[in-house]
Amino acid sequence: MTGFIDRLYPSSKAALVLLAIIVGIFTPGYILQYAMFPVFLLLAIMAGNGMRFFKGFLSSVGTVVLVIFLVQVFIVRYPDSAHIWAFIALSPTGLDKSLGITSRIVSSASAIMWYFQVTTPKDMVYAMEQAHLPKKVTFVIMSTIGMVPQVINRSRTIMDAQKSRGIETEGNAWARVKSFVPMLGPLIFSLIQQTEEHALALQSRAFLAPVPKTSLYRLDKHTIDRVIQVICLLLLILFVVWRVWK
């Protein structure tokens, strides 16, 4: 079962996620939206990273949802706010509104998060190449994803080096603002120097040649992918018809 979601083509998963987001945003109420979280949790467990999904969701979306809830219910003033204590007031309108906002955040965020946890960047970029996106686009995406962790490592080295030279990282705000330049300066200079080398390397490997790129990596579309995509499209049409006619 673990392999089933991994074997799905990236665009099938994307169709599923888009459908979930659109339905989540435009359906009135909040029960369906909240129900999407357990559904995606189940899908994440099926893909073998249920724990990662749950933890990531709590740490990023959890706090936001909690803060929105507290502010809407107790702090924002509505005509029906009932004063409780000091600056705190309780409002049924606020409760209703916060449920509407948070449920939509929960549904969209869990769909997006699930997608990026079960789809590797390699698969996503391969699918984009197959969909005939310009190779400059896929290159930028791939190189950005690859570069961020490397640069973070390098910045640690630079920070340690500058600290050993006695840079001020504490003190008043101005001193701390000033320390941005010696921390980021060497990083940016070395990265800019590197771009020249990268450009030469890419040109010597015929990156700018006006021919399609070939790939050693392969990912096949199965029958199940076509079925999922068609079902998602039909459901979307049904949903639009239902929302417009009602």
């Binding site: 702090i75 969209s108 940016i188 771009t195 040109q203 990156f207």
Partner: protein, 201 residues
């Protein structure tokens, strides 16, 4: 000079985008190490916009938030803000605002106003006014004094945008001015910052 999309996205400009995104991430980490109440996470976007122009700046802003959004989907709607920041900063570079200190200071204000105009509606429409950041305390304080939600969020957005953009612009500007001429000249929008003028011998 013709300056279309194809001109802006030269190979070197393409290679600048990942640089900008990773500098943004490092800037974000630095601002939490240095215990700033606001996040200084657009240094890379601004730096890239200054050298690569509006469209490259826009894509850098978008990519930064997409990369963030993979781990934290809350960042996705704010891609619009980062894209505006990058685009406006790039336009100002095209109009040579950063070649002197007066223009650079004026640019801070223009960029922060543009960012706040996009940020406030996103915060209200998607999150109902608060996002769990430190600046929410300011919004909440304004709400308690009886200010309307829209006014509170907009004041907070303007305030945080001016403060963070001032730091973003000044840090990237200082670094840009220290970049050697031989690098500057290779980027499409780098020539106004070159110090030495070639003289015919």
């Amino acid at each position: 000079m013709k300056r279309g999309l194809r001109y802006d996205f030269s190979l070197l400009a393409l290679l600048l985008i990942p640089v900008g995104v990773s500098v943004n991430v490092v800037g974000y980490q630095l601002s939490s190490i240095l215990k700033f109440p606001i996040f200084i996470d657009q240094i890379g976007t601004l730096f890239v916009s200054m050298l690569g122009g509006p469209w490259v700046g826009l894509v850098t802003g978008l990519m930064g938030n997409v990369i963030n959004g993979m781990l934290n989907p809350v960042a996705f709607p704010y891609a619009l803000v980062a894209m505006t920041t990058g685009f406006v900063a790039g336009l100002l570079s095209r109009w040579r605002w950063y070649t002197n200190i007066v223009g650079a200071v004026a640019a801070c204000f223009v960029i922060s106003i543009a960012a706040a105009i996009v940020k406030a509606p996103v915060t209200i429409a998607v999150f109902g006014g608060v996002t769990g950041a430190g600046s929410d305390l300011l919004t909440a304080a304004l709400l308690v004094t009886g200010t309307s939600l829209i006014k509170s969020v907009f004041s907070t957005s303007i305030f945080t945008a001016v403060a963070s953009t001032a730091i973003d612009v000044s840090v990237s500007w200082v670094i840009l001015r220290k970049l050697p001429d031989r690098f500057l000249i290779k980027f499409n929008y780098g020539s106004p910052y070159v110090r030495k003028v070639a003289t015919a011998s």
